[in-house]
């Protein structure tokens, strides 16, 4: 009877350890996969990938990028109907993991098709905001 209870206790302990280990692994790997999804650095090209926020209104896609230490004159912004490209030079070198970074670069896949020629960009306090009007696709329906 006592042996049976001891065996059950051991299995309970093992199960609890297993659950705990799974929780630890899930947490460790969930943060890792997030980094893999969107890298903040391109070590080979010595470029930083800016933190980015994308939002949408009914008629615009708004992309905001955090690019501290970049000068306005160095910013290049290009857009197609579905992708925004930005590149900017930093006014100083920043070192991470013994690699010196001098530029920002990023291409952003847009959540809707836009009119790239009507896009507007502004830069303030190291934050770049690009507003891209959405492309109207469809045909008008008359109301009877």
């Amino acid at each position: 009877m006592s042996d049976e209870r001891d065996a059950r206790d051991i299995f309970d302990v093992i199960e609890e350890m297993d659950k705990r280990m799974r929780r630890i692994m899930e947490r460790a790997f969930s943060s890792l996969s997030m980094d893999i999804d969107e890298q903040l650095y391109d070590m080979e090209r010595r470029e930083l990938k800016p933190l980015t926020q994308i939002s949408e209104t009914d008629d615009e896609v708004i992309v905001t990028l955090d690019i501290p230490c970049a000068s306005k004159e160095s910013i290049e912004v290009k857009a197609t109907e579905d992708t925004l490209f930005i590149r900017a030079r930093m006014d100083r070198c920043v070192t991470f993991s013994n690699v010196e970074f001098e530029n920002y670069s990023k291409s952003v896949r847009l959540p809707a098709r836009v009119e790239p020629k009507s896009a507007r960009a502004s830069f303030r306090n190291g934050v770049l905001q690009v507003r891209l009007p959405k492309k109207f696709e469809g045909s008008e329906i008359s109301v009877e």
Binding site: A28, M34, T64, D66, C69, R124, G126
Partner: protein
């Protein structure tokens, strides 16, 4: 095993103190990764400027197995600091995952209670959509202590009249209220998922006026851009918690 180590445990979390804590009735400052990293940046800067020493850390097998290396020294991500007089600071260099938030807050609030603090001061950000066009972010506050409210009235900070608070700071506030610990929470207007040291500056400026802590903010202004670059990784890790579906639907409070 650390010399003089003393453990206090609560639901699997432990506050490990390196030496016997002699401070009683301190001000406790809390800076956790959250909106714009406003609290993390403010409290880290305060630790540096006031020359606080590390006095302990939070330990738990619920936390992921992460240690940080700073100048060749191994550091726990959630640490406690203090100066010789009346200030304690809690900072975390990893976001507190919602699944362990209750255990974390329960144990840390219990530790706060034992320290019999004069006031627990939490610093965080409140996201505003037009942050890009705001030169000097406003600071709002919630206080559960009449003396702290009276001090705040002598500053530019405004009462947080209405809105929703969520995440780690809401949990800390709740845990402190239930233990009758006096609290003051500062909310500086900030970017949601970009590190915002200028919001931290405004929060520290309010504390300078209210508590007369005399923190020189010039270095933080000068270093703001580099701080933004160096805290990108922590911001990225924190972002996933800030953009959970339930949070996306939360209203923008001011702006």
């Amino acid at each position: 095993m650390l010399v003089g180590e003393k453990r206090r445990s609560d639901a699997g979390m432990k506050v490990v103190e390196y030496d016997g804590m002699k401070i009683r009735s301190p001000y406790i400052f809390v800076g956790l990764p959250d909106v714009g990293l406003v609290g993390s940046i403010a409290v880290s800067y305060m630790i540096d400027r006031v020359k606080m020493a590390e006095i302990g850390h939070v330990e738990s097998d619920l936390l992921p197995p992460i240690l940080l290396v700073r100048n060749g020294e191994v550091k726990n991500p959630i640490r406690l600091y203090s100066n010789a007089s009346s200030m304690i600071a809690l900072i975390s260099e990893m976001p507190i995952h919602p699944s362990i938030l209750q255990e974390f807050v329960g144990s840390i609030a219990e530790w706060f209670r034992r320290m019999d603090p004069r006031l627990v001061i939490s610093i965080t950000g409140v996201p505003v959509q037009n942050r890009l066009n705001i030169d000097r972010p406003k600071v709002f506050y919630i206080s559960t202590d009449e003396q702290a409210s009276s001090l705040m009235r002598s500053t530019q900070a405004m009462v947080f009249e209405e809105g929703i608070i969520f995440g780690a700071y809401a949990a800390i506030l709740k845990a402190c209220i239930s233990r009758s610990i006096p609290t003051l929470t500062l909310f500086a207007q900030s970017h949601l998922n970009f590190p915002d040291p200028f919001a931290s500056i405004e929060a520290l400026d309010v504390l300078n006026k209210a508590l007369n802590v005399g923190i020189d903010l010039n270095e933080l202004r000068e270093e703001a851009e580099m701080i933004r670059i160096r805290s990108r990784e922590l911001m990225k890790q924190t972002e996933s918690m800030l953009t959970e579906p339930r949070l996306k639907t939360a209203p923008t409070f001011y702006g």
